[in-house]
Amino acid sequence: MSRPDSATLTLGDFEQLVLLALFRLGPDAYGATIRREIEHRTGRDLAMSAVYVTIDRLEAKGLVRTRVGEPTAARGGRRRKHVMLLPAGRRAVNVAYRRFKAMVEGLEHRLDHA
């Protein structure tokens, strides 16, 4: 599978949210924390399964990597799936952020009061 060029790669709205959450969470990132982070910051009520659908997609695009942890009692003896941001993912968020910022420049005042 050829590595896609991060400059031309387009991210979906929800994919951006998940990547940004990974940025923030660092090594603590997994399904529950990602879901809660997005809900907490955006007020969007998310289904857990939706987070996993997106993580699978991001992993297929080569932006994140997942690692299965140890089972814990707090999860009813189930294992965790940790998610880590890959450099490509970091770049992709950066590109998306810069594009967004470029478009927003000079509009901040109007957007904040819209």
């Binding site: 529950a32 289904a47 857990m48 399964s49 999860r75 189930r78 799936k81």
Partner: protein
């Protein structure tokens, strides 16, 4: 959704729901995350919040944001989605507009449903009043009645209680907080001095009576133990009497009133609700003391007993308690109490009496009517959905979701149901009012006009239920099939649809058969009951009661003189052929006395009748042996009925023998004649022995009722009879003036009432089924027009084409009848206690119903089928 799980575990069922559609490789992690977050949430915001959150997550994991699995129920369980839709009012307005555009459909649908809901509301309303509504007394579940209980011929029977037993049981039992008796015989007194003289229904009660019920008086106080020492006896009035006679004056307390010549002080007024179990026809309650002489009477049963259980005492314990007391009495008084025991029944369980089982039957019948009505509506909706396929197709194409269309169709059905319920409630009020005329006394109050909230709630519930029954499936079909139907040019029609409607018609027919079989059994039974010969001739006889207050007619001679004068005046009325006096008229009141033939130990129970000589003529009772009474008997003489004679002396003649009145030490009376048996309580009972005594000499019971035989219709003489009595004594009341036919007829009133409702339901069922069949075949013919046209173009004759359609009708009708007959046969046991001299499985009834209904059904199918013969092949082929 309560799941029993260890604390802080997510609801198990929700976990299962969440797992439904999770891919195996993701399942562990998603569930683990949900579990973890659930626990955090539970600690932070409480278990309730966490549980709600978890369920929402589970739901969305399984069904996503566009749940399909629940299909038609979706809008009901996901209010969030409903909120996202245009307001409900919009749909309601749209539905009303649609119904206005199709008034034929609207009227048919609303009326069909109105019949179904109305039938149920009518039954519920009466049942609510008679058995379901909570009794108006505090802690009413503690109230009981106590009966004497004995076995005769293998049957368990109950009876009112003898005063001796009452006194003993009151003293010897411990299960009751209050234990009271009232005189179970009808007892009337004249109210004189306040307006016109009036005859009051009076109940005499022992001191504890009001304490048993525990209801507060409207004004003043009730009766109590202290009243025994008052100079003037106290009286408690009913609210009805108080309002009617005393204008609702609160200062009535303390007033002295004259009842049959004796003074009574009014001490209080009881609210109307008190009468529910304490006598709804009673005008006044008076104190009753059981005198020592009566306390020794263990054989004459005339007291009703009401009691309140002590807290914590169960009915079974109370039964054991009175049975122990009754056993002591049966040892102490073997003469009269040898085989008697006692039992306790809660007031609540006893309410409605024999009507209880009738209500079960009626509720079943009404339920059938609603099912049939819903089947018709479902069928109509299916057909209508087909007709509106284009509308739905277009709206679906324009982006209306299936859920959206479903919701709108359901709102439309709900509007129909609401209108149907409103009309149904109105219909039921009307019909119950009409039935009020034939209602037995016990039901009169319940058929009064006016609505109660319970009935309205019942109608609303039924409306909701019927939406579920008739609307959901057709709406689901119509909303999901929209796109297909517009693009499909049907030549053969939607056969699956016709199939579904045929199943509905078969079900309808089966239900109608069951109802008709039951109704026929009831009608036949009633007509057989009415044809029973009671052993006397009630037609052309009128009857009334004379009051004869003790102060003005103190002794035998004075009363006899009054009778003589009244008889003379009555005989002078043109048309009157015979007149007599009697202590209790047939079918009105019956109480039992014990007689012992001289030299025997056998006790004969019989109804005592004290009569003037003319009664045998007036009632057309025939003499079998010996002689009748004469005007001037010098000693107490008696006449017995054939049944009495048979029990006492077998086949030997009773004439010349003597009988002890009461027990073996009672007065001896010589028998001078034997007359034929006659029924005294019910046309459905066996003849019970009677003992006639002459009124020419003083006897235990004195005549108070008058019987008049006329050659004219009895009702035409009512005013002449009143005038005749007034000429003799202006203060004399003429109470309960009516024809004897009415009296006998009221014994079948309950039967007539049940039947009136039941037959009404059966007829509605019949009509609705016929309409359903007609509708189906009209639809089938319309659907198959193209096919029929082609067949006719190819040479099929009209008769063949009609036969083609009718073949389907034969099969449907045959199936419906068969299922219905089998159903009726298997459930016929329920009717056993309502049939009279008729087996509930009498094959003639089944054949008659099958023939009638089958013929009607085929006619209903044949009428629209004829249209098939008139199909013009040319017109059809042009359109294909």
């Amino acid at each position: 959704m309560k799941d029993r799980v260890a604390d802080d575990e997510p609801p198990r069922w929700a976990t299962r729901v969440a797992g439904l559609r999770l891919p195996a490789d993701r399942r562990e992690f998603v569930l683990g995350d949900l579990d973890e977050e659930f626990k955090d949430r539970s600690t932070a915001r409480g278990r309730r919040d966490a549980t709600r959150w978890y369920w929402r997550q589970a739901w969305r994991t399984a069904f996503g944001r566009h749940p399909r699995l629940l299909g038609p129920l979706t809008p009901l369980v996901l209010p969030r989605r409903l909120l996202a839709m245009p307001p409900l009012m919009h749909d309601i307005r749209y539905a009303l507009r649609g119904l206005r555009r199709q008034p034929g459909f609207a009227v048919a649908a609303v009326l069909t449903l109105a019949l179904g809901i109305g039938a149920n509301a009518a039954v519920f309303r009466v049942a609510w009043q008679v058995i379901l509504r909570p009794l108006p007394y505090p802690k009413a579940d503690r109230l009981v009645r106590v009966w004497v209980d004995y076995r005769r011929g293998g049957r368990e029977l109950t009876n009112v209680v003898a005063p001796g037993n009452f006194v003993d049981w009151q003293r010897d039992t411990h299960a009751f907080a209050a234990f009271a008796a009232y005189n179970g015989l009808r007892y009337t007194m004249d109210l004189i001095g306040t307006g016109d003289p009036a005859q009051l229904d009076v109940r005499t009660v022992t001191a504890d009576y009001f304490a048993v019920f525990g209801m507060a008086p409207l004004v003043g106080r009730t009766l109590g133990a202290a009243d025994a020492h008052l100079d003037v006896s106290p009286a408690v009035l009913s609210e009805g009497l108080w309002r009617q006679r005393f204008g609702g004056d609160p200062h009535v307390v303390g007033r002295t009133i004259q009842l049959s010549g004796d003074p009574y002080t009014v001490v209080g007024v009881m609210p109307a609700a008190f009468g529910v179990a304490a006598g709804s026809t009673i005008d006044a309650w008076l104190g009753m003391a059981i005198l020592p002489a009566e306390a020794a009477n263990h054989g004459g049963h005339y007291l009703g007993i009401v009691a309140r259980l002590k807290p914590g005492v169960t009915v079974d314990q109370a039964i054991a308690d009175v049975r122990a007391a009754a056993r002591r009495d049966s040892l102490l008084f073997p003469d009269s109490n040898k085989d008697t025991s006692a039992t306790v029944v809660t007031l609540d369980a006893e309410r409605g009496g024999t009507l209880r089982s009738a209500f079960v039957l009626l509720a079943g019948a009404a339920g059938f009517v609603l099912l049939i009505a819903c089947a018709n509506l479902a069928s109509l909706q299916l057909a209508r959905g087909l007709a509106r396929a284009r509308e739905f197709g277009i709206r679906a194409a324009l982006g209306a979701s299936r859920t959206r269309l479903m919701v709108q169709l359901l709102v439309e059905s709900a509007v129909i149901a609401a209108l149907g319920a409103a009309v149904g409630v109105a219909l039921s009020s009307g019909s119950v009012g009409v039935l009020g005329h034939v209602a037995p006394q016990s039901l009169r109050a319940s058929t009064a006009a006016g609505l109660d909230r319970a009935t309205l709630a019942c109608a609303a519930g039924l409306a909701l239920l019927s939406v579920v029954l008739f609307a959901i499936a057709p709406a689901w079909r119509a909303a999901s099939g929209g796109g297909r139907w517009t693009t499909q040019r049907a030549v053969t029609g939607d056969r699956r649809m016709a199939g579904a409607r045929t199943v509905l018609v078969i079900g309808q027919l089966a239900l109608a058969v069951m109802l008709l079989v039951s109704a026929t059994l009831l009608v036949t039974s009633l007509s057989r009951v009415m044809r029973v010969d009671p052993g006397f001739d009630p037609s052309g006889v009128l009857t009334f009661d004379l009051s004869m207050p003790g102060t003005r007619y103190p002794d035998f001679d004075a009363r006899r003189q009054l009778f003589d004068h009244v008889f003379r005046e009555l005989t002078a009325i043109p048309g009157v052929t015979a007149v007599c006096g009697i202590n209790a008229i047939p079918f009105d009141q019956a109480f039992n006395m014990t007689y012992v033939p001289e030299g025997q130990t056998v006790q004969v129970g019989a109804y005592p009748r004290t009569v003037t000589p003319g009664c045998f003529d007036t009632l057309r009772v025939r003499l079998l042996a010996g002689r009748l009474f004469t005007d001037h008997e010098s000693t107490r003489v008696g006449i017995v009925t054939a049944r009495f004679a048979h029990i006492a002396w077998g086949d030997a003649s009773p004439v010349g023998r003597r009988v002890h009145l009461g027990l073996a030490n009672g007065d001896l009376i010589e028998i001078v004649g034997e007359v034929n048996d006659s029924l005294q309580t019910s046309l459905e009972a066996q003849a019970y022995p009677q003992f006639y005594e002459t009124a020419s000499t003083p006897s235990a019971f004195r005549p108070t009722s008058v019987l008049v035989r006329t050659a004219l219709p009895p009702a035409s003489l009512f005013s002449a009879v009143r005038a005749a009595v007034r000429r003799v004594d202006g203060d004399q009341t003429v109470a309960r003036l009516r024809s004897l036919d009415t009296v006998v007829g009221s014994s079948v009133a309950e039967r007539q009432f049940d039947l009136g409702l039941f037959a009404g339901f059966a007829i509605i069922a019949l009509l609705l089924s016929a309409v359903g069949i007609y509708g189906l075949f009209a639809h089938v013919v319309a659907q198959r027009r193209p096919e029929i046209g082609i067949r006719m173009a190819l040479g099929a004759r009209p008769a063949t084409v009609v036969g083609l359609i009718l073949r389907r009708a034969w099969i449907a009708v045959g199936l419906g009848l068969t299922i219905g007959l089998v159903g009726a046969y298997t459930t016929s046991g329920l009717l056993r206690r309502f049939t009279f001299q008729l087996s509930p499985t009498d094959p003639r009834v089944y054949v008659a119903v099958a023939t009638t209904l089958g013929t009607l059904a085929i006619i209903a199918a044949w009428i629209p089928s004829r249209r098939a013969a008139r199909v013009d092949p040319v017109a059809v082929l042009r359109n294909v």
